[in-house]
Symmetry: C2
DNA sequence: ATGAGTGCAAATGCTTTGCATCCTG
DNA sequence: CAGGATGCAAAGCATTTGCACTCAT
């Protein structure tokens, strides 16, 4: 991954290394704000601008992807391959379903006339394990719309 | 739908009726800002606050859903049933795949241990018909990550 | 050394909120 | 006519940008 960084002509700064590590270690895909607060202890002088600059540089190099799974802040995913996610209605937790093997149905079929499909991803919504066990009807949950 | 509005204890104001109509007529799920600018001619005095107040009131009544399909503004969908969407990488167009019939595979299977699934939705990403025909590699498109 | 990268602060864009006024039911 | 809804303005977050300074190469 560091190789990829240099290959893109990017310099290896402590800020970038820390962000990269934090991203790689976290399957919940942290937001820019989350990264900033987590790294404040380690890099007290780092600014938001650096976090955003780094994340957009990484995104441009194809080393991570910005994902809009919920209204509000964007989450950054070091796994650039299309894959599925589960999102908790109650606490907002994002769970990566990267490892899941799916049936080999043709995924290049056009969902609508003329639309050239590049990727398909699923979003599972519901309650995470913690929220499921903690409450029958988790705080702040939208009323289930069923399916 | 008006019935549903009243059932929720909401008053029928011209602003709400206009927003509701605009929402219903538009399969691309407009953002709050888009609704505001479209209705400016019809309701010159309407404010952003009213658009947002109305949209959150509708959301609370289960008459629409806020969808985060792309970073930036949230889109509002009058179809509260889980369904699929296609999003253009180039121009950001959202296409509703509401009518698509899918195979009846068990969709309540847990994507990850302990996660209680409420709904599953797919997001197709690629190029819309317009962008596909206009360019070989549409302006502003992220490099295809393939699948 | 030299230009990319950082830090700071101001700016932007989307959304929310407080409050006085207005209008639907 | 009463309470909910609107309009206006200010405030709140997430994110972007400009610019002088610093540091990785």
């Amino acid at each position: 991954m560091l190789v990829a960084l240099r290959a893109g002509g990017l310099k290896l700064t402590p800020q970038r290394l820390a962000i990269l590590r934090e991203l790689a270690d976290d399957p919940t895909h942290p937001t820019a704000t989350e990264l900033f607060s987590r790294l404040r202890a380690e890099l007290p002088s780092m600014s938001f601008a650096t976090v955003y600059n780094t994340l957009s540089a990484l995104t441009e190099q194809g080393l991570c992807v910005a994902r809009a799974l919920e209204p509000g802040a964007v989450r950054f995913d070091p796994n650039v391959e299309p894959h599925d996610h589960a999102v908790c209605d109650s606490c907002g937790l994002v769970v990566d379903i990267a490892g899941r093997v799916r049936g080999g149905s043709p995924r290049t079929a056009e969902p609508v006339a003329g639309f050239a499909v590049r990727s398909v991803e699923r979003v599972y919504r519901g309650w995470c394990a913690d929220c499921s066990s903690r409450l029958e009807r988790p705080t702040g949950a939208k009323q289930a719309t069923g399916e």
